[in-house]
């Protein structure tokens, strides 16, 4: 498929999907919850334009990595809850390990062994 619009430059390109999958790997969550979770866990370092979550969620859903259903939110509003599928969990594992390798490699380059 064509290019996807990348989120703000604060985020490494292509990492949003990974962050969403990771967030959903702990619990079922709605869109706002995901945004809030990323913001808080990263100690507000990672700035995700909140709106860009939704196309990403759609894309992940179409890829079969996550699934969604409607439910009641804490304040009794209707909300759509997303959860990770089996395929999504597998995909997360692969992405995590390749990301770890990438970070590790960048780390070695940036801080040469003394």
């Amino acid at each position: 498929m064509g290019k996807t619009r990348s989120p703000r430059q604060e985020l490494l390109p292509g990492t949003l999907d990974m962050l969403i999958l990771k967030t959903l790997s702990r619990q079922v969550m709605h869109g706002y919850g995901i945004a809030e979770h990323i913001r808080q866990v990263s100690a507000e370092v990672l700035h995700v334009e909140e709106g860009s979550l939704y196309p990403a969620l759609q894309r992940l859903q179409l890829q079969g990595l996550i699934a969604s259903e409607w439910g009641q939110s804490a304040n009794n509003r209707r909300a759509r809850y997303y959860r990770l599928t089996v395929k999504g969990r597998r995909q997360l594992g692969e992405t995590e390990s390749s990301f770890a390798r990438l970070i590790d490699a960048i780390g070695r380059v940036m801080k040469p062994a003394t």
């Binding site: 706002y32 334009e49 909140e50 759509r80």
Partner: protein
């Protein structure tokens, strides 16, 4: 289509596509909820509630854009892109209606003719018999050396110097094969009854009849369209006579009514009861395209085909096919069949040596008999080749048009590339346009195909004896679509890559500079024109050759005068006349015809002239002893003493205006009781007696010692008999009173239009016997033209398609030159400002045209000389690669080049230097 992902992804996409508006609503709700939660949170954190809503939106981003983006994801991106490209393409095509019409018309013609030829080839060459498991069917054929292994053959035979082959067998061979091979195969027999007299409710009409064995329909596994089909019990002597109708005949003659079942019909004077109707599309197992109106049991063959004794082992008339049983070996069937055939022939002709006995062969029978099909292959191949050339030229033209437009759109494409459209996207846009053209053209082409196909049928076979059904079935539609896609890819790929290759800067500068145009792009268009010229040359040459030979054929002097001559035929044997009754009928008919007002003279002959029919006999001078039957010399003797025989009345030469050279004509006194006499033509006189006087000499007709002798009473000039193509054969005319007679063709010479006598001539014969069908009423001139139908049609076809390709090449050339002039306007302006003459400028443009045509001719002339051998079999009086025709077609090409260059050259010479330079 890798972007579709796996099947699961596809399903999710499709579901997403259909729930589009529901999803949009849900997304809106989800976003609203998000914004509300964020607002609450901000208020909780101490923000002013009035600012909170704004801040929530700010943090969220552009709601509309995000909804758009999400929505994009639900749909197939490529469908949207395709729809967009298509819309854009349609808009562009509509903005250039002349371009579009020219492209579509030329492509539609090319694709339509290709589809037509394909559908004909499919119907005639490829389609299997519409029966159960046709691949299990086998066909029996025999081959023999040069010696005749039979006396009389009914069916299709193929005779060469090396020997003969046919699929007709004697009854004893058929019955033995059927009985003895029953363990391995279900063998069935069938025979052609040709044109018969079918009377329903007392009204006579001609119909094509066949006889089949009782197991025929059962073994083929056919179901009736109405009533029942023939079965074993119908094919026994003494069984109540039953017949089945062909589906077409049932529809045409009986309106498809079920009342016809159980009704009587009379075939050649014998009554049958209609038992049922054959299924639609089934036309028997004889030659492809052979019509069948009525089918009767094989047991009635003897009565229907009068004259020959079907039990005679030397009369071969029944064809056989079989369905192999499971596990049966084709080889075993062939060898067992071979043995049976040899035994039956040896029993019937004890003089034949073992080596001369025929050999049996088993062939695949899934398409029925093969002879007609083999004859159709060549004309269909020629048609296919011609159509390919037209299609190529049409594609080259569309490619050229697209290329020209690509240049015109260079700026637009450059802009699109500059704002970030990927090259792939631009190529795809251009391909979509090409595909759009191709698909519209093929839709029109498909509609044309049916029409073109039926127009082509007369080139393959005489239309009135040819039943071929071609319909727009799936295979033809598929073929056309594939063709359209192939063409579209072909004609868009080069222009698309060229166009998308345009450097952004040059593309944007083009308008300003006016001299861009890379030489490469120009030469691409140039080589397309060269290809067009070369290909057109092939067709123009073929058209020239065919037209030339058609003209030659039409100018051939047949040796008689075909003008003002009405001809029609009767077959008295069909109504059970014996020879005596037939003669009486002919006498009475001639008397009636001669007394009609407007008739100058009337005559009869046993066969129609120039109708591809011949009756070949042996005529040898008395005193020459023929070699013994069955010896190798007998065959050579036969070849040397062949005489084409025609039984005529005493007015024949006068009516046909065949001049009598020596002796006397036949006379009314040459009756059955008078001495046997004959008139011969010059060719036969020379063959019989050399340069010696032949009047008064005697010859024998036949090889046996007791062959009847005749005296030559007169010599007439040579006249054509079987066809216009062949030289007048050695011909023998004998009086009809002195020989057997069971059919007659009448020739009536009229004062005015012969066709105006049709009604009264028909009435005259009907007065004698109103149950005798009269067929093939036409003028002799029409008869001659009909016999040349194939040649004439091929000539017309080639001329039509040749003109189309010429026109297309002309358009291609014109487009190229017009563009060149437009591009070079400033340059020409400079030249003229510097003192170039108008003539020089004109010549500059003309020269460009001539160079292209010269290269095209350099390629096309040798190609035409070679490829014209392809049509050699259709030529008459002119040889393939005839220099006259090659020079003629080259001149035509040059004339086209001149015509195409005229307007651009004129425009170039009228360029005003001042305004051209000012524009710069």
């Amino acid at each position: 289509m890798a972007f579709l992902g796996r099947a699961g992804g596809l399903v999710r996409h499709v579901r997403a596509l259909f729930g589009r508006s529901r999803r949009d609503d849900e997304l809106r709700e989800e976003i609203a909820a998000h914004l509300e939660l964020r607002r609450q949170r901000l208020i909780d954190e101490g923000m002013d509630p009035r600012d909170a809503a704004y801040e929530a939106r700010r943090m969220f981003g552009n709601v509309t854009a995000i909804r758009e983006e999400t929505r994009d994801m639900w749909s197939f991106r490529w469908i949207d892109t395709l729809a967009q490209d298509t819309r854009y393409g349609v808009r562009l095509l509509r903005r250039a209606p002349v371009f579009t019409a020219a492209a579509i018309a030329s492509l539609a013609l090319g694709i339509g003719s290709a589809a037509a030829v394909f559908s004909l080839a499919d119907a005639l060459l490829m389609r299997s018999l519409p029966v159960r498991a046709p691949e299990e069917l086998v066909l029996f054929r025999w081959f023999s050396g040069p010696l005749n292994v039979f006396e009389s053959l009914h069916g299709t035979g193929d005779q060469t110097d090396a020997g003969m082959s046919s699929t007709s067998f004697s009854r004893v061979a058929y019955e033995t094969v059927r009985r003895d091979l029953a363990r391995d195969a279900d063998v069935f027999g069938f025979a052609d009854l040709y044109r018969s007299n079918l009377a329903v409710n007392g009204r006579p009409d001609t119909a094509y009849a066949q006889a089949v064995s009782g197991n025929y329909f059962d073994v083929l596994g056919l179901m009736p369209a109405a009533g029942r089909l023939l079965r074993e019990g119908d094919d026994e002597r003494g069984a109540p006579p039953a017949a089945v109708l062909g589906y077409e005949a049932w529809q045409r003659r009986f309106g498809g009514s079920h009342d016809v079942i159980g009704r009587p019909l009379v075939l050649n004077g014998i009554s049958f009861t209609v038992a049922g109707v054959m299924p639609r599309g089934f036309n028997g197992t004889l030659q492809v395209g052979q019509p069948v109106d009525v089918v009767v049991p094989l047991a009635s063959y003897a009565e229907l085909a009068r004259g020959d004794n079907p039990d005679d082992p030397n009369y071969w008339w029944v064809l056989m096919m079989g369905r192999l049983r499971e596990g049966a070996s084709e080889n075993r069937v062939a060898s067992a069949g071979d043995l049976i055939l040899k035994q039956t022939v040896a029993a019937a002709r004890p003089t034949l040596k073992a080596a001369a006995l025929p050999r049996m062969q088993v062939e695949p029978g899934l398409r029925g008999q093969t002879e007609t099909r083999a004859g159709l292959r060549e004309p269909l191949e020629i048609m296919g080749a011609v159509v390919c050339v037209v299609l190529l030229v049409a594609c080259a033209n569309v490619a050229n048009l697209l290329l020209a437009r690509g240049r015109a759109r260079a700026r637009e494409l450059a802009v699109r590339a500059a704002i970030g459209a990927p090259r792939r996207r631009i190529v795809r846009q251009l391909m979509t346009e090409g595909l759009l053209l191709g698909l519209i053209a093929s839709a029109i082409g498909l509609l044309l195909a049916q029409w073109i196909a039926s127009a082509l049928v007369p080139a393959l076979a005489s239309a009135d004896t040819f039943a071929v059904s071609f319909s727009l079935d799936g295979r033809i539609v598929l073929f056309t679509c594939l063709l359209a896609i192939l063409c579209s890819v072909g004609f868009t790929l080069v222009p698309a890559i060229r166009s998308s290759d345009a450097r952004i800067t040059t593309g944007l500068q083009e308008h300003a500079r006016g001299t861009v145009g890379s030489r490469r792009r120009f030469s691409a268009a140039g080589s397309l024109v060269v290809v067009q010229v070369a290909l057109s040359m092939l067709l123009v040459t073929a058209a020239g050759l065919l037209a030339w030979s058609a003209r030659n054929l039409e100018r051939v002097d047949p040796g008689f005068d075909p003008r003002n001559l009405l001809t029609f035929s009767v077959d008295t044997s069909l109504n059970g006349y014996d020879h005596v009754n037939s003669r009486a009928f002919v006498d009475a008919a001639l008397n009636r015809l001669r007394s009609l007002p407007g008739v100058t003279s009337a005559s009869m002959s046993s066969h129609r002239l120039i109708a591809n029919y011949s009756s070949i006999r042996i005529a040898r001078p008395t005193g020459v002893t023929p070699p013994p039957l069955g010896s190798p010399e007998a065959q050579a003797f036969r070849q040397k003493h062949r005489a084409w025989h025609l039984t005529v009345d005493d007015q024949f030469f006068r009516t046909m205006k065949i001049p009598l050279l020596r002796g006397r004509s036949l006379a009314s006194g040459d009756t059955a009781s008078a001495p046997a006499v004959a008139v011969v033509n010059v060719a036969l006189a020379t063959q019989l007696f050399g340069s010696a006087e032949s009047v008064g000499r005697r010859f024998a007709m036949g090889l046996t010692p007791d062959a009847p002798e005749m005296e030559v009473v007169g010599v007439v000039a040579d006249a054509k008999y079987t066809s216009i193509r062949n030289a007048a054969p050695p011909t023998l005319y004998s009086p009809y009173q002195q020989g057997p007679l069971n059919r007659a063709t009448f020739e009536v010479r009229t004062e005015g239009d012969p066709l105006s006598l049709t009604a009264s001539a028909r009435e005259a014969l009907r007065g004698l016997d109103d149950t005798l069908p009269i067929f093939d009423i036409r003028t002799q001139e029409e008869q001659v033209l009909r016999s040349l139908e194939r040649e004439r049609l091929f000539a017309k076809l080639a001329m039509l398609l040749g003109s189309v390709t010429l026109l297309l090449s002309g358009i291609g050339l014109y487009g190229l030159l017009a563009y060149a002039v437009a591009r070079r306007t400033p340059e020409i302006g400079v030249r003229m400002a510097l003192g170039a003459e108008k003539g020089q400028v004109r010549w500059m443009i003309l020269r460009q045209s001539f160079v292209l045509v010269a290269i095209g001719l350099a390629l096309g002339i040798p190609g035409a000389a070679l490829s014209s051998r392809f049509v050699e079999s259709l030529l008459f009086g002119v040889s393939a690669g005839d220099p006259k025709v090659l020079v003629g077609s080259s001149l035509v090409m040059i004339a086209v080049a001149l015509a195409a260059a005229y307007a651009p050259a004129r425009r170039a010479s009228r360029i005003d230097p001042l305004s051209a330079l000012r524009a710069e």
